[in-house]
C-alpha cells in the first residue's frame, strides 16, 4: 500500500488536475470566509458549539438514554450497535424483517465507515446512494474523496463518460445541468420502487427524540416520504441536549461547509409516517473507547462540515483518496489512527502543521495539536522505520551539545561548499530534487559574535 506522500506525488503528477482541484476547494474556502464573516458573533458561536459538544461528551450516557426514551415515545424503534459488524447485521435484519430488497440511501458517512453497502449487496439487497456525488462514486466503485462533496475529484467530462456507460446517456455529455437531470431521471425510478430508506444523521435532539438531516438535494426527504420503512443511522456523538442548541449548529454547518447560509433542506424526523416504520440505530464503532482517550477525545466533537479539508493546503493538493481512510483531510488524519495506528501511521505526518484546520473548525478541535501528539505516539510505538528513528536519536545527541553541534555544522558547511554538485544533488538528497540547498557561509553567527562582539 502506498503511503500518503507517494499517493500525493502521483496526484500531483497530473499538474493541471491538481491545480484545478486546489482552486475548486480554495473557492469553497473563500465562500466559507464570506459566509461566516456575515455572522459577527462567529467566534463566540464556535466557543458555544465547542462547549455544548464538550458537555454532551461528558454526559453522553444520560443524553443517549433520554433520546431513546423520547424517540420510543414518538413511536420510533431504537437499536444499538456496538461495532460496524453488529451495525451492518442490524440494518440487514431490519430490511429482512420487512422482506425488502430495494433500499435508497442518503447522506451518511457512518454507513461508509461501517462498509454497509458491500455488506448489503452481498446479501442480495440493492442499495442505491441517491445524492448525486455519492451516486457518482458508487457507480465508479470508489470511496468518497471528501466528506461533504464526495465526487469533488471528478470533472464533468468524466461524469459524462461514467453516465454514458452506466446510465446510457449520450456520449460526450459534459453539461452539468443535463448530467444532473439524467441522474434525477435514473434516481426517480429507484425512489419510487424503494421499500426502505436509509439516512445518516447530522444532529439528534435528546429532549425530543428527533433526528435532523441537512441536505441540499432533498433526497433524504424523498426517500423517507416514499419508502414505507425509514432507518436513521447515527454515531453516538451526534446528540445535542435541546432543540435550541440546533440554532447554533444549523447556523454554522452549511456556512462553514459550503458557504451557504443554511442547507436547502433541514429535515427533522420525529415519528413514523402513518402506516410506516421508523428505526434509529445508534452506533458506537470505537467511539466510546475514543471518548476515554483524553488526548484525542475532542475529535469526537466533529460535525463533518469538511471545512478543515477545504482549507488544508495539503488536502487540496493531494486529493481525498491519498488519505486511504473514509474520512480524509486533517480531521481524518486524527480520527483514523484511533481505529488503527499501524494502518494510518502516515496520516498524522501528512500536514505542515500550519494550523489553518484548527482555526476553521466550528467546534474548535485542536486538530494540528492532535496531529503533533499522534506523531509522538507513532514514534514511541516504533512505527517509523528504524533508520529514521536512529537518525533522529543521533540528531538529538548532536543538537543537545554545542561541541558536537559546532563540529557537525562546520562539516556540513564544508560539504555544501566543496562537494561537486553531482554529489550534493545525488537523488538521495530529497530536499535537493526540486530545491537548491542553503548557502554555506565561512563563519557562523556564533563565530562572528565571538570575533566582533563579545565583550571581555
Amino acid at each position: 500500500m502506498m503511503n500518503h506522500a507517494a499517493k500525493a506525488g502521483k496526484f500531483l503528477a497530473d499538474l493541471k488536475r491538481a491545480d484545478w482541484h486546489d482552486q475548486t476547494l480554495w473557492i469553497m474556502r473563500k465562500k466559507r470566509d464570506k459566509a461566516v464573516s456575515c455572522v459577527p458573533e462567529w467566534e463566540e458561536l464556535r466557543d458555544k458549539a465547542s462547549q455544548i459538544k464538550e458537555h454532551v461528551l461528558s454526559n453522553l450516557d444520560a443524553y443517549l438514554l433520554q433520546f431513546e426514551v423520547e424517540a420510543v415515545k414518538n413511536g420510533a424503534q431504537v437499536h444499538w450497535a456496538f461495532d460496524s459488524e453488529s451495525f451492518n447485521q442490524k440494518v440487514y435484519s431490519i430490511i429482512n424483517g420487512y422482506q425488502a430488497q430495494k433500499v435508497v440511501k442518503s447522506k451518511s458517512m457512518l454507513t461508509e465507515e461501517c462498509g454497509l453497502n458491500p455488506y448489503l449487496e452481498d446479501k442480495g439487497i440493492e442499495v442505491v446512494d441517491t445524492d448525486l456525488g455519492e451516486r457518482i462514486i458508487q457507480l465508479r466503485g470508489e470511496p468518497p474523496s471528501h466528506m461533504v462533496v464526495p465526487a469533488i475529484h471528478l470533472k464533468k467530462e468524466e461524469i459524462g463518460e461514467l453516465f454514458h456507460s452506466k446510465l446510457g446517456t449520450e456520449k460526450g455529455l459534459a453539461d452539468a445541468q443535463k448530467l444532473t437531470s439524467a441522474a434525477r431521471q435514473h434516481l426517480r425510478k429507484k425512489f419510487l420502487s424503494a421499500e426502505v430508506a436509509i439516512t445518516g444523521v447530522n444532529f439528534s435532539v435528546a429532549e425530543t427524540g428527533t433526528v435532523v438531516v441537512c441536505t441540499n438535494e432533498g433526497n433524504a426527504d424523498m426517500g423517507v416520504q416514499i419508502a414505507p420503512v425509514q432507518i436513521h443511522c447515527m454515531g453516538i456523538e451526534k446528540i445535542l441536549p435541546r432543540v435550541e442548541d440546533l440554532g447554533i449548529f444549523i447556523q454554522m454547518l452549511a456556512r462553514n461547509a459550503t458557504g451557504q447560509p443554511i442547507t436547502t433542506y433541514t429535515s427533522h424526523y420525529q415519528k413514523p409516517k402513518p402506516g410506516g416504520a421508523m428505526h434509529i440505530i445508534i452506533v458506537d464503532n470505537g467511539r466510546s473507547e475514543h471518548l476515554g482517550n483524553s488526548k484525542y477525545r475532542d475529535s469526537l466533537k466533529c460535525i463533518r462540515c469538511g471545512a478543515c479539508l477545504n482549507t488544508c493546503p495539503v488536502y487540496r493538493r493531494s486529493g481525498g483518496h491519498s488519505y486511504n481512510y473514509v474520512i480524509s483531510g486533517p480531521v481524518g488524519s486524527i480520527l483514523s489512527p484511533i481505529y488503527s495506528i499501524n494502518k494510518y501511521k502516515d496520516l498524522p505526518f501528512a500536514s505542515s502543521l500550519c494550523g489553518s484546520c484548527t482555526n476553521v473548525c466550528p467546534v474548535k478541535i485542536n486538530i494540528h495539536q492532535q496531529l503533533y501528539s499522534w506523531r509522538q505516539e507513532i514514534f514511541e510505538k516504533r512505527l517509523i522505520p528504524t533508520s529514521k528513528r536512529y537518525g533522529f536519536k543521533f540528531a538529538g545527541k548532536i543538537l543537545a551539545s554545542s561541541r558536537y553541534y559546532n563540529f557537525f555544522g562546520k562539516n556540513i558547511r564544508w560539504a555544501l561548499k566543496h562537494l561537486p554538485r553531482k554529489v550534493l544533488y545525488h537523488r538521495i538528497n530529497i530536499w535537493g530534487r526540486c530545491r537548491e540547498l542553503p548557502p554555506a557561509p565561512d563563519k557562523t553567527f556564533n563565530q562572528w559574535y565571538q570575533e566582533n562582539y563579545k565583550r571581555n
Partner: protein
C-alpha cells in the same frame, strides 16, 4: 511589565540561522542594540529541538530543551528572529518539569517583531526600504504566536509585522491572492512529503510575483530557506530577506 533598559536580553539564534544565515543573526543583534538594549548571546546555545519534536521524537529532544534552558536561565527576556522556534519553546516545552525557571523562560521568550511591538512598544523604527515587499506570514508566528489575525478568523484584522513595515519610508506592501497560506516547509514535512511541500512553495512564490513583489520577507528564515531554494532552482527573480534584515535598516 515596563521595559527597563537594564533588563538582560538573551539572543537566541536558531541553528539553521547560525549555520547558514549569520547575516540574519547579525541584523537581529544590531537592531536590538540600536533599540538601546543590553543584549547577550550565550555561546553554548544550539537548537530549540523542534525538528525532532515535530517528527514525533519529542522524547529525544528533551536534552536539547534542557540545553536551551541552561543557556537562557539568566535573562529577563529571550528574543529570537524565528516565530516557529519561539512557538516551540512556548507551546511544547511543557514536557519538561515546570519549575519556576522553565515557566519563566517559556513565558519570556519572544519573537523579534512581537517583542518590539508588545514589549518595547515601538512601532516606528525609522526605516527606509524602497521596494515592493510581500509579507509571507509564517504559520507558527501567525496562528501560533498570534502575530496577526489569520484569514480564517472572524475578528478585527491586525498584523504586528505589517504594522512595523508599513511605517517604513518608500516601502510598498503588496496584497496577495492567498494572504496567509502555508509555504509548505513544515520542518521535516519538507522531506517526508517533498512533492506537496515543493508544490505549496512554488505557488506561494508565484502569488508574490504575480502581485509585484521584489522582496519576500517573513519572520521565519526556515520558510524563506525553502522558498528561496525553490526560487533559485526555478530562476524566479524575487529576492528574500528576513524581517530582521529590513528592520535593521532602522536609523534609530
Amino acid at each position: 511589565m515596563e521595559m527597563n533598559v537594564n533588563y538582560k536580553i538573551g539572543l537566541f539564534i536558531p541553528c539553521y540561522i547560525d549555520q547558514f544565515y549569520p547575516q540574519v543573526g547579525i541584523a537581529t543583534l544590531e537592531l536590538l542594540v540600536k533599540l538601546g538594549l543590553n543584549v547577550d548571546y550565550p555561546l553554548k546555545q544550539t537548537c530549540c529541538g523542534q525538528p525532532l519534536a515535530n517528527s514525533g521524537c519529542e522524547a529525544d529532544a528533551r536534552s536539547i530543551y534542557l540545553n536551551f534552558v541552561n543557556n537562557f536561565r539568566e535573562f529577563d527576556y529571550v528574543v529570537s528572529p524565528s516565530g516557529s522556534c519561539v512557538y516551540h519553546v512556548r507551546e511544547h516545552y511543557n514536557i519538561l518539569e515546570q519549575t519556576e525557571e522553565v515557566t519563566r523562560i517559556r513565558q519570556n521568550t519572544y519573537e523579534l517583531c512581537e517583542f518590539i511591538v508588545d514589549i518595547l512598544k515601538v512601532e516606528d523604527l525609522k526605516i527606509s526600504f524602497p521596494h515592493k515587499v510581500g509579507i509571507h506570514h509564517s504559520c507558527h508566528g501567525l496562528r501560533g504566536l498570534k502575530l496577526g489575525a489569520s484569514s480564517e478568523l472572524v475578528t478585527t484584522r491586525y498584523s504586528k509585522v505589517h504594522r512595523l513595515l508599513e511605517k517604513a519610508d518608500k516601502i510598498e506592501l503588496i496584497t496577495l491572492e492567498r494572504e496567509d497560506e502555508c509555504c509548505g516547509f513544515g520542518g521535516t514535512f519538507s522531506i517526508f512529503e517533498p512533492d506537496i511541500s515543493v508544490k505549496m512553495g512554488t505557488e506561494r512564490i508565484l502569488d508574490h510575483e504575480r502581485n509585484g513583489a521584489e522582496v519576500i520577507t517573513a519572520t521565519d528564515m526556515s520558510c524563506l530557506m525553502h522558498l528561496e531554494g525553490i526560487a533559485r532552482r526555478n530562476k524566479n527573480k524575487v529576492k528574500f530577506n528576513h524581517i530582521a534584515e529590513i528592520l535593521n535598516q532602522s536609523r534609530l
